[in-house]
Every structure is written in structure tokens, then in C-alpha cells.
Symmetry: C2
Subunit: 488 residues, 2 copies
């Protein structure tokens, strides 16, 4: 036992141990520091003295001190001995997080509308249509089954096997060379595909206007964006050609009822598009989340049916429940292998319970029944859009969509949709102005009317109010008195 100042040092060292003596001594001293028996600022005994007291070779003590010093526990001062370090002073400056954090590339997102406003700004289904009782029943069937216990255990990165099989059977375009990955919604599907298919400096072609979540995801990744202009018939083939000529290797398309325009690509142009992409060696991602909200019953063929190399994305978010984050990728197996690997790194796997609930909801026929109601309701809403737009949107240009949730409106020349928004909000109507959907061009004169979340009466009243706001803003100019113009 050695007293040194206030210190009592009584190491039990074992010469027969595999652990060298200097390390045993170092660990012993470290423990005394940890427990506070030796305090910051205390001086340790000189090596010669401690060696003598403990019957050790002086080099053993020196080596123990060196270990402590290299581990940061003590600090040697030449000629003065070895001192136990205090913890460094707490830095009184706050951490400069804005310097540490990576910069945001994302554009501002839309602010929510005020209550009482007729809100055309959200592309989402109406909560009123949620089949809550049927969903409860489907959940109960899962929760009371024997499947519950394994569902609560860690799952497969590629998704819940019965759901995967159900979705593949439900997708006639899926062939034997395709696989499937369940994702945390289609947004994640695109994020994973970005990581799987884009190297640094790569170019991606996006529709323009396009929904901001898609654009921001690629902006954030530092990828170069190429815009393809969307007309009344979806992307114009010449703009795909230009994008391919500029070297875009990934083409993200929403061929049916595109967000924000509501436009759909006709069948012949679909064939042209897949052929052009294929010839250029580019990969098409078909974001197919609206096609089942088909109010006109035209059932346009998916791009995936025209070229098996197309990567198809699906989800129940638009036809059922957006709050349940469950989407999927159907693609050639090498693609699925890579995105599954990336999925595992991103978040291990998608929530298992939600996958099982959605499967039960779908396979029991409840989803199809709900979808039929959604299509019937959507048709009625679209009729309300059509009638009220014709009566009230003087001087505007628009093409009535045949499905989905959105319609694009071009304001009379000279009107700016961002400025108009403030006036519309004061009048009790909200929408998203064109600039939210920009990729490379501004779209200042356009705006998106998302009608699916509203009731037909609200749509009629909202479009009427919007029409008044537009007429007032356009003032007494000639344009404002022209009849509504449906774009060809």
C-alpha cells in the first residue's frame, strides 16, 4: 500500500497474467481516476518512487504512465511530473451547426392553407372517403391471427413475402425476369433507384412541371436535372429526344394523370418513348401511382408492358391510405438485387405490420371495392371541375384530366400565379402556383388545382371564387372577357 499525498495506491498485480504488468498498473490507475479517487490536477508519484514502493521495474511504471498519457488520462510536464488531466473546459461558444450541416438544396415547400379555406393545394385523397370500418376489419383479421408474432420480428429487406407475391400476381406486366421490392412509399423507391442508377455527375430527365418532392430529391443528391416539357399529351417526344441527346440516362415519368398537370401520354407516344429511351441506353422509371384512378376508363397501357426493362413503381397511397407508407418497385432482377441491398442499408425493411394490413385489405377484395368508390367519386369531382371551370375560368387555358387528382391551369397572359395566390387566399381559396413545379423553367402563369381531396360542392364554390379572383386581377383587359379555352 502506498500513500502519495491524498492518494492510496494498492494495485493487485498478477505476474502470471497474460496481461503485461505495465498494462495492469495502467488499468488500475485509470480506474482510480474514473472513480474520482484520483482527481484532475493531482500529481502521480514519480516513476522511481512508485516502482520502488510496488517492487516493480521503473520501466514498468514508465510504460504504464505512457499508456495513460496516450489514452489522455494524464499529462507529463517536463521536470514537474505527471498530472491527471482535467476535462477540457466546456467550450462556451455554441456549436456552429450551420457550418457543420450540409446545405439544403430543396426549394421551400408549400405552406398549409388556413382553416376554412377551400384548399386545392394538396394532391391527396379525401379523408371522408377512407373506408375506416373495412380497414379496421382487415387489421383485426391480421392482429388476431397467428401471423402476428413473426410479423413483429425483424423482416426481410425485400418485404413481406405474401405481399410481394400478391403484388406480382396483380401486375400483368411483371414477367419471370422481374423481381419486387417493397419500399416505404414511392418516394423511397425513387430515392433508392437514384442511388442504384446514378453516379456522381449523372443526368436525370424529369417532366416539367413536376411535383417538388421528386425534383428536390434529385437536387439534394447533386444530380444534374434535365427538364422535359409536359404538354396536354404528357411529355413531348422531342423533349425526351433532347434530354437523351444531352446525356440523360435515367428518365422518370408519370405517364398517366401526371402530377401536377393531370396529363396522360397517348399510346403511340408511349411506344415512341420507350423505343427512344431503349435506343439511347437510358432507363425509364414509370411512376404509376395515379393510373388506377381512371375516370374515363381508357386504361392506357403501362410503359412496362411496352418494354420489359422499364422500372415500374406502384403504391396504394393514392387509391387508399397515404399515411401507410408502402410502395413497391417491380423491375428486372439485377435492379431489384441492388435496390434491395440499398434498402437494407437505408432502413433494414418496411414496417411489417402495415404490409400485412394492406395485403389483407387488398386480398380480401376490400381494396377493389374501395377503388371503385374512389373512381366513382373522382368522376363526380371531375365533372364539378369541368362545369365550374367552363363557367368561371374565363381567359384561362386548361385540359381536363381523365383521371388522378390534379388539373393544370394557365392564367391569362400577364397574370402571375404566385401573386394571385395571395389574393385567392384572402378570398378563401388556395392552390399551388406554377413555380413550385419548376425544374428549369419558371411556370409563373400556371397553377395546380388538386381537386381529389374536396367535395364536388367545394370544388364548384372554390373554382367560382378563383374565377372571380382571376377576373378581378386581370381587370378590364380584353383577355379576361374571353371564354375559357380548353387546350388541344
Amino acid at each position: 500500500m502506498l500513500h502519495y499525498g491524498q492518494m492510496v495506491l494498492r494495485p493487485e498485480l498478477d505476474e502470471n497474467s497474460e496481461v503485461p504488468l505495465y498494462r495492469q498498473l495502467g488499468v488500475y490507475l485509470q480506474r482510480r481516476i474514473e472513480t474520482g479517487e484520483i482527481s484532475p490536477g493531482d500529481r502521480l508519484p514519480p516513476t522511481r518512487e512508485l516502482a520502488g514502493q510496488l517492487g516493480l521495474n521503473r520501466t514498468t511504471v514508465s510504460a504504464a504512465y505512457e499508456l495513460l498519457e496516450s489514452d489522455g488520462w494524464i499529462k507529463g510536464a517536463v521536470g514537474r511530473g505527471n498530472f491527471v488531466r482535467g476535462l477540457p473546459e466546456r467550450d462556451s461558444d455554441p456549436v456552429n451547426w450551420s457550418r457543420l450541416l450540409t446545405p439544403s438544396n430543396a426549394a421551400a415547400s408549400a405552406s398549409p392553407g388556413r382553416s376554412g379555406t377551400i384548399n386545392f393545394s394538396a394532391s391527396r385523397p379525401s379523408e371522408k372517403l377512407f373506408p375506416v370500418d373495412e380497414f379496421r376489419q382487415a387489421c383485426a383479421e391480421v392482429l388476431t391471427s397467428d401471423r402476428l408474432r413473426p410479423l413483429l420480428q425483424i423482416g426481410s429487406p425485400s418485404g413481406y413475402e405474401p405481399l410481394k407475391q400478391f403484388l406480382l400476381r396483380r401486375t400483368p406486366e411483371a414477367s419471370g425476369s422481374d423481381g419486387i421490392l417493397i419500399t416505404n412509399g414511392c418516394q423511397q423507391a425513387i430515392d433508392l433507384l437514384r442511388r442504384a442508377l446514378l453516379r456522381p455527375g449523372a443526368k436525370v430527365a424529369l417532366e416539367e412541371p413536376v411535383y417538388p418532392g421528386l425534383k428536390n430529391l434529385f437536387l439534394e443528391a447533386g444530380v444534374e436535372l434535365v427538364g422535359m416539357s409536359v404538354g396536354p399529351d404528357g411529355i413531348e417526344p422531342h423533349s425526351l429526344r433532347q434530354a437523351l441527346e444531352r446525356g440523360a440516362k435515367l428518365i422518370v415519368l408519370t405517364p398517366s394523370f401526371q402530377n401536377p398537370t393531370g396529363a396522360s401520354i397517348p399510346v403511340a407516344a408511349r411506344k415512341q418513348i420507350v423505343a427512344m429511351a431503349r435506343a439511347a441506353g437510358a432507363v425509364i422509371v414509370e411512376n404509376d401511382i395515379y393510373s388506377e384512378l381512371d375516370y374515363a376508363g381508357r386504361a392506357l397501357p403501362r410503359l412496362k408492358s411496352l418494354d420489359p426493362n422499364v422500372i415500374l413503381l406502384g403504391s396504394f397511397s393514392k387509391i387508399a391510405f397515404p399515411g401507410m407508407r408502402c410502395g413497391w418497385i417491380i423491375a428486372p432482377k439485377p435492379v431489384i438485387a441492388r435496390v434491395t441491398e440499398l434498402k437494407q442499408l437505408a432502413d433494414l425493411h418496411t414496417d411489417q405490420l402495415s404490409q400485412a394490413f394492406l395485403l389483407r385489405f387488398a386480398e380480401s377484395g376490400r381494396l377493389a371495392a374501395h377503388q371503385a368508390r374512389m373512381v366513382a367519386a373522382g368522376r363526380e369531382k371531375l365533372r364539378a371541375v369541368e362545369e365550374s371551370a367552363r363557367r368561371h375560368l374565363f381567359g384561362c387555358r386548361y385540359r381536363l384530366p381523365e383521371g388522378g387528382m390534379n388539373m393544370w391551369v394557365e392564367l391569362p397572359d400577364g397574370l402571375d400565379s404566385s401573386s394571385l395566390r395571395g389574393l385567392a387566399q384572402q378570398a378563401g381559396v388556395d392552390f399551388l402556383p406554377g413555380r413550385y413545379f419548376s425544374v428549369t423553367r419558371p411556370f409563373d402563369s400556371g397553377l395546380r388545382l388538386s381537386f381529389a381531396g374536396l367535395e364536388p360542392d367545394e370544388i364548384r364554390r372554390g373554382v367560382e371564387i378563383l374565377g372571380e379572383v382571376i377576373r378581378n386581377a386581370a381587370g378590364s383587359r380584353d383577355e379576361a372577357s374571353r371564354p375559357a379555352f380548353a387546350m388541344v
Copy 2:
């Protein structure tokens, strides 16, 4: 009406339209091509002839043809006229996906054990302990409530507000300057923090050995990894110092019951570590997923309690249900703002129903009751590890953990854990060899025993079998007859 060969061209053109005549004509011709009325290979009428027949200016027809050509519908052949394009020949070569896909940096993951095997390879709770009835009850309480309908709607990127508030209240280290983000499990939390805090070429310091999901995530991102060696007391402060000297700006630590070693960092070293990181301007991410499985009741302080700038990660995956992907980040508000933005881009938000189920399970007291049972069961399992390791793991070195799910075992000199694994599997036992947990060093002589998923009897039998396999592999060498050695 114009017949041209088999073609019947009867456009209805409107001179008063805002759409120029050439574009109206172009759209008309495009539609005829789309519908198949004009076939690939057909020659269009010469511009002069069509202009004459339709009473148009010849430049109007030329402009329409140019539009069609730029859109890819027709192709002009000098001196021969304009022909409708066929779709390009389908490329008969299959797409070369291996060239298109980004290369995988991830190491191979562990293959699942054969059935009948005593499987020490998975760091997860036992399904047998899942409180399925209590969980069912919590789900039913959510499903039958009025909250269900809004839960099915799109949610907030930052998470379900009542769950966020509950978790902040439950975390004494969270201060008023902290915010919270709900993630799709802790794996996603780290992926988002990586994107928020690491610029290209940045360095991240990881414990070594470390669990492969963490290493692979950073490898995939092309970040430079710096290993910090983990000893019986967690990372050694000197290796943190070296990592900081090498420029690591992000330090990811599991201070309590680390995976794979089971090691915990003593309190004084915790203080040292946060001070060193703070002084170097580096950010610590505290991956705190095991600390509540505290079998010894030591309740070591979280790093977050020692420095408010620490970013704290939590999850119920280890104490409750791994299949429900729900974790969280508690961090200073600027960090939360940035990761929330990235979360929205990654997958909009975490599944709402699961968030509500877990909240109900926790706030009703069921989680705490379950956790108490998990700790009691874990203590029993650990005792089985202790007894059987002492009796059977001759020549091995290990430190018994005080919590969590894993213990690290160093084999006698010269034994390679990867080779041993095959022998162990033949004998009916599986584990993960050290090389799975490598960052920069191989760990060929180490292995991880994950005991939490097994029953005490299985643990005893498994460790006994493993001990025999080790003894046989070590042969008649002296080392094999030494008693087990518990590392200091």
C-alpha cells in the same frame, strides 16, 4: 378531304384558335399516326400538294412536318419526301444492368442458420417474449378510436406529434434546445445523419469491431472510415484521439452494450470522450438502442447528458418489436430541421399507424412492464452464458457484458473464427465470425455470440457444443487446456 394513297386527311383547322395552324395540323397528323390510320413507312403528301388541297400556305405545312420530325414521328429523306417512322427495332441485346447499376461496396451479409441449429448469429430479441396479447390490446385501442381516420392521411415528415412529445418527456437528457425526428428505425436515423453531416471526402469514426449494417451504410456512401478499437471498456480514448487527429468529424458510438462486443464505456471515459470530441469540433452520434436492457442496473449516464450537442438515437426495436420500424433522433434543433428535410425527401414520413400503436403500447404502461420482463429474462440468459462459458470456453478470452444482446469471444491463438464457423455449423451451432465486424482490422480470432434470442437451456447447450468444437480445433495444444480467461 384529301386522299393520299391510302391516307384520308381531313383536318378541322380553326384559324381563330390561339394554337397556330401548323401546330393544329401537326397534332392532327400525329393523332392519325397514333391511331394507326397512317402507318410506319407511309409517305406523307408533299408539302406543296397538301397545302394546295387544304388551302393552306405551304410554309404552314412545312412547319407542321418539321414539328413532327422534331418530335420523332416522321423522317425526311432528301428528294424522296417525308416518311412515318417505324418504332426503332427492339434491341435484341439484353440491357447490361451490371454496367448501369452503381457498384456495391457492401460486404456479404450473414447467411441464415440452418433449422435445428442453435443460432447465436442474430442480435435480436426472442419472439417467444413478444407480449402479443398486450400489443393486440394496444392496437385495438388505436383502431377503435377516432384517431384512426387522420392517421391514415399523409402525416408530418417529423413524425406523429403525440409520439414525439411522449418520447421527449421520456428522455431526461432532452432540453428545450432539442427537437425530435421519428425515423424508420435507427438504421434510417444514421443514414439521414450521414447525409446531413458528411460532405464528400469526409471521415467518420466507427467503433471496431462494429455491426456490419453501420459500416456498410458509410462504405456505400463513399465516406472514409476510421476505426476506433473497442476494448473491454468500449472504445479506448486514445483511439478516439487518433481518429480526431486524422480529421474525423462524425463519431458514431454505442456507449452501452455495444454490438458486437457487449462492452460499455465507463463513466469517466464517457466524460473524456465528449470533451475530446467537443474540443476537436466533432459531432458524436450516440446510438442508444441497448441501454435499457441493463441487467446489472448500473444505469451509466448517456453521453447526451454530458454534452447537450450529442445526437441521441433511440428505438424500441431491441426492447420490443424489431419488425416495427420506428426509431428517433433527439438533437439540437438545427440538426433536426435538416434531417427532417432529408427525411421528407427520403420517404415523406414514417408509417403513422405503427407510430400510434407504439405510442399506445408505451403510454399505457405495457412497454415498461414488457421491458421489466425483458430485463429479467436477459439476466437469466446472461447467467447461462456466464456459467457455460466458464465451464466450456477453455482458452478463450471474453468479457461478460452487463446488458444488451451480445458477447465477444476471442479464440485461443491461431484459431480462425471463419474456419471454426463451418465446424460449429456441422455440430449444430452458429455464430458470426469476427471478420463480419471489421472496419479496418480483420478480427479473425474473434466471434460474436448473440444470446438474447435464445432460451437459457439453448445457450447452455450451444456454448457447450461450441466449447467442444473449439477444443477439438485447438487439438492437443497447451492453450486448449488453459482455463477460460476473463479479460480485464
